[in-house]
Each structure stands twice: as C-alpha cells, then as structure tokens.
C-alpha cells in the first residue's frame, strides 16, 4: 500500500459558517421540495430562507474579527469581504420579503405556478385556479446568494469562476418565472442565459491566459508574478482584458450592457430587484478584489480602460434613459449609468476609491430594492403597469407610495439629504484625489443629464392628471411594506447621517492577499 501523499487541508469551519448555512439551507430546500406535500412546502421554505439569511448575517457579525485567508487561500475573509457579504445578505433579506409577497397579485405571488406549463394553456389556467404555487424558486434563490457570498470573497480565479456560475445559473431560471407576461419573461431568461454564458466563457479564457502567465490561479501568486516581471506580455494583456469583459458584463457596463434593459423588463419585479441590487454589488465586489489584489501590479494597464468604460457607461446610460417610456427599462438604463459612477471609484485604485465604491453600493442597493418594491405595487389585473404615462397622477391616488418613490428618484439623481448625494460626492472626491479631473467633469455632466429623467418621473407622478384606467398602487402585505420602509429609511438616513456607515467602511480596511 502506498503512503498517503496528500495531507488533509486545514479548514476553519467556524469562519466558513455563513457560507455553509446558506448553501445547506438551499440543499435542504431541494429535499423539502422532494418529500413535503404541496401545501406544506411554502412555510418550510420561508423559514429556511429567512432563517438561513438572518442566521448567516448573525454569524458574520459575531465572526467579524476573525480575518484571514481560509480554505488553503481560496477564500479571503477580510474587512471589505465581510462588508460585501453583509450587504449581500441584507439585500437578500429585503428581496426575500418582496418575493414572499402574496397580496398584490389576485392569483397569488409573482411567480408562475409551474414554469414549464405553456403560457396561456388550459394546463396553466387549471394550475392557477387550483391555487398551486411555485416554491422551487426559494432553493434557487438561496443557491444564488451562496454563489454571491463566495464570489465577493474568492481569492482564487477558479473559485471566482465557480462562484460566478453558482450565482448566475439560478438567476437565469428565476428571470423566466414571471406569473404575468410569461412570453416576455421567457425571452428575458433566454437572452440573459445566452449572453451570460457567452461572457462567462470570456472570463474563463481570461483566467486560462493568466494561469498560463503565472502558473497559478491564486490571486497572490499572480500578483507576485506581475510584480516580478513588470513587462507586458500578450498573455497578461489578453488575460486582463478578457477577465474584465466577464466581470463588466455582470456589472452591466457599456459596451457589455445589452442584456440589462431586456432582462430587467422581462423578469418578475422581485427578481429584477435581486439582479439590480445584489448582483451589481457582488460583481463590483469581485471586480474590486480582482483589480486591486491580483492585478494591482498592472494598474496602468486597466486604469485607462476603466476610465473610458466609466465615462461611456455614465453618458450612455443617462442619455438613453431619457428616451425611455417604460418604467422598468428606464430604471435599467439608470442602473447602467449608476454603474458608471461606481466605476469611477474603482478606477482610482486607491483605498479612498474602494471606500467610496462600497458606500455607493450600499446607497444604490437599498434605493433599488425600494424602487422595485413600488414598481411591483403599481399594477392592474394584467400585471405591473410599467408604462410611464400610466404612472400619471399617482401622487393624488396613493400619496404615500408616490412620496417614497420620489425620495428614491431624488436619491438616484443625487440630491442633497439623500444617500445618493453623499455617495456621488465621495466617488468624485476619490477621483479628484488622484487628479482625474476629466472623469469627474464627465461624471458631473452625466449627473445633470440623469437628473432630468429622474425629476421627470416625479413631475409625472405629482403634476400630471391621471389618465383613464390608471389605478392607485395596490395595497401590499406587511412584507413588502417592511422592505419598502427599510429601503426608504436607509436612503434618508445615509443622506443625513452618513458618518457611522463611512466609519464602518473605513475601519474595514483593505483587501487581504
């Protein structure tokens, strides 16, 4: 018998507990789907989802001082990593609140009773009249959150790729599960899947090239190899470019943004909220870590690239959003523009830029959840009413909803006393600190243009007479109300009293390697 040539890796399971809780809850969710009767599934899935997300967040808070590389250097649990994971879990809890909403749609929740049934078929009608509900979406959701947590802390390009897929594959399916406008939703899923798979292939080839250059997929080894040989080789240039394409696609930066409006419009509103808030936070978390830790040595290589992409993204998003007539598409283009502003912070390659980006993501994430909570509420019997003119007079019919939507619009337009103002201020400040005046000027121009269409929504809601057949916002159940209240509160509090959060972010320090 041969001696053991491999020693067991040392794994600190306590430090990895947040991942284990969420991932295991997903697996248990699948077992529940297999063995529990139709009526018993939903309560158990809800307990699993909320229990695991809140539990993982609690463990994260308790563990916040145990920093270090885990699992043989594959996962870096450091200050920014814990911040990102905490933010993802909080946003996921709010999304779960939106997903469990059952009062807005007369037929039940926002998801098709069976995603495989033909749209408009007798089969589907029967499922609806019998009151069947889809509960598979909960394990999928938990798997996606698990992938996100792994994605922002991956310290190894292989783990990065696997985590990207764990995050994305459930999302492709969730995008196609809308109860209303099923064809639109299926089309969104198809587009998201094809383009997502295409971009992850680019990311993977980038990983292969960087592996060929450095002989390893560990971030630290790649960083050392780049530091030892600062010359540019074809492998480095190609690897950095392809890796960035994959990550910028998930962020939705121009010119990799084509999927964003279609997918945001077609997906059910809670899933869109999840994609717009959590996926964007996750993708930026991974981009920051890859750029700062692994590729920090070739900063001059990707900095100009990010400047150009940030500028294009801000301008394109702001200009095209003006022409939109559909609320979800407008928010989609606005989210493209917002991604451009965050990229300003990323492109500075300084600690200040890192802190500014994280603050911007916190502000943007909560505001976005609130926006989609309200979009899900403004509806008629056929589903969400997303045409802009249908929103006319909402201020008269449902003043409270319209006022909160106004707050979110002002936040995205970065008016003072909202979180968006502080966020944009910090980002511009970090860019000025590295003497990048040009990008700041482009950013200010884009902000002014963006303010136009945000204010236009407020004008439509409050100063235009309601058209025929535009109803008031539906009355939601307590879960949506809670999610909405939390996001509105965070948006205002971060605008008035940003100090505690800024301090928290700055205490977290920088990435470990």
């Amino acid at each position: 018998m041969n001696p053991e040539v491999m020693t067991a890796p040392s794994i600190d399971y306590i430090a990895l507990l947040p991942y284990i809780i969420v991932g295991a809850a997903g697996v248990i969710g699948v077992i529940v789907e297999a063995f529990v009767g139709r009526n018993g599934r939903r309560p158990i899935q809800l307990v699993l989802a909320f229990g695991s997300l809140i539990g993982a967040f609690g463990v994260l808070v308790v563990n916040r001082t145990t920093l270090g590389l885990q699992a043989e250097g594959a996962i870096a649990i450091d200050g920014p990593g814990i911040l990102f994971m905490g933010l993802i879990l909080l946003l996921a809890i709010l999304v779960a609140l939106l997903m469990s909403e059952r009062q807005l749609d007369p037929a039940g929740d926002a998801f098709a009773p069976r995603a495989s049934a033909l749209p408009g078929s007798d089969d589907e009608r029967e499922l609806t009249t019998r009151g069947y509900f889809q509960t598979e979406i909960w394990p999928l959701f938990l798997f996606s959150v698990f992938g996100m947590m792994l994605f922002v802390t991956a310290s190894n390009l292989l783990v990065l790729f696997i985590a990207l897929e764990i995050m994305s594959l459930p999302l492709y399916l969730m995008a196609g599960m809308s109860r209303r406008r099923r064809l639109l939703s299926q089309e969104a899923a198809l587009k998201y899947f094809i383009l997502g798979a295409f971009s992850s292939a680019f990311l993977l080839f980038g990983i292969a090239l960087l592996y060929g250059y450095s002989g390893s997929v560990e971030f630290s080894v790649i960083a050392d190899a780049l530091a030892a040989e600062p010359g540019q080789t074809a492998l480095v240039v190609g690897g950095v470019a392809l890796l960035s394409v994959g990550l910028l696609f998930k962020i939705g930066a121009v010119p990799f943004h084509a999927w964003v409006p279609d997918v945001y419009q077609g997906s059910p509103a809670p899933v869109t909220a999840f994609m717009a808030a959590a996926v964007k936070v996750t993708a930026f978390g991974a981009l920051l870590r890859v750029m700062y830790v692994a590729l920090g040595g070739v900063r001059w290589e990707w900095e100009p690239l990010l400047w150009i992409i940030a500028g294009l993204t801000m301008l394109f998003g702001s200009v095209v959003a003006i022409a939109q007539t559909d609320m979800k598409r407008m928010i989609a283009y606005s989210s493209i523009a917002q991604a451009g502003f965050i990229l300003i912070g990323v492109s500075t390659a300084t600690a200040e830029g890192l802190y500014a980006s994280i603050f911007y993501l916190v502000a943007y994430g909560f505001t976005t959840i609130g926006i989609f909570a309200i979009i899900a509420m403004v509806r008629d019997a056929g589903g969400e009413m997303t045409r802009l003119d249908q929103w006319a007079g909402l201020g008269k019919r449902s003043p409270l909803v319209a006022v909160s939507f106004g707050i979110f619009m002002f936040a995205l337009a970065s008016f003072p006393l909202t979180s968006g103002f502080i966020a944009k201020f910090l980002v511009f400040e970090s860019a000025l600190a590295v003497d990048n005046l040009g990008l700041v000027i482009v950013g200010v121009i884009a902000s002014v243009m963006a303010a136009f269409f945000y204010i236009r929504v407020v004008v439509i809601m409050f100063f235009r007479e309601p058209v025929e057949g535009s109803p008031a916002a539906a009355v939601p159940s307590a879960t949506t109300t809670l999610a909405l209240a939390v996001s509105a509160a965070v948006t205002v509090i971060l605008g008035v009293l940003p100090e505690p959060v800024i301090n928290l972010i700055e205490q977290a320090g920088v990435f470990l390697r």
Binding site: L118, L183, A197, A201, L204, Y211, G212, G215, S216, V217
Partner: protein, 99 residues
C-alpha cells in the same frame, strides 16, 4: 510538437465559438458554440498545465467540464421552454423586448 501549437489551436477554437455565437440564429447552435468556447478554454488550461509543469490546469479542466454540464441543463431547460411556447428556437424571433 511545442505547447504553443495547442495554445494557438485553443485560441482558434475559442474564436470560432465566439463567431458562432454572434452569427448563428438557432439557439441550440448558439449554445453549442458557447460550449465550444468552454472546451477551447479547457484545451488551453491543459496545455498551460503542461507548459507550467503543474497539475492545476488539468484539475481546472475537470471543474470547467462540470460547470459546462450544469450550464447545459439550465440552458436546455430555458431553450426547451421557449421552443414550446413559440414553436421556434430562433434567437431572432423572440422580439417582444425592444426599446
């Protein structure tokens, strides 16, 4: 034969896959092109593993195969659903989502 040739072959296959995604109309063929891109990457990983003299690349190739399989399951589910509701697997035909 030097490792370079394998890398060049991998690049050619990857480019062919990317072109296939961009020019083909049938969702299944587009999907096969994506798989070609992933497998071209696998070839690059194995070739680089040989070049660098470590096994990491070969192990990664296993993981990529698994991810590709998972992608097939999810992708086929979506394509089959779209095909059933539209009787067509063309990616140009779904056109409800526009500006």
């Amino acid at each position: 034969m030097s490792v370079d040739n394998y890398i060049i072959l991998a690049c050619v296959l990857f480019t062919l896959g990317a072109i296939g995604v961009l020019v083909r109309r049938n969702a299944i063929v587009v999907f096969m092109s994506v798989e070609l891109m992933l497998n071209a990457t696998n070839l690059a990983f194995v070739a680089f593993a040989r070049m660098n003299g470590n096994l990491d690349g070969q192990v990664i190739a296993f993981f990529v195969m698994v991810v590709a399989a998972a992608e097939v399951v999810v992708g086929l589910a979506i394509i089959v659903t779209v095909y059933r509701s539209r009787r067509s697997a063309s990616i140009d035909e779904p056109n409800l989502l526009k500006y």
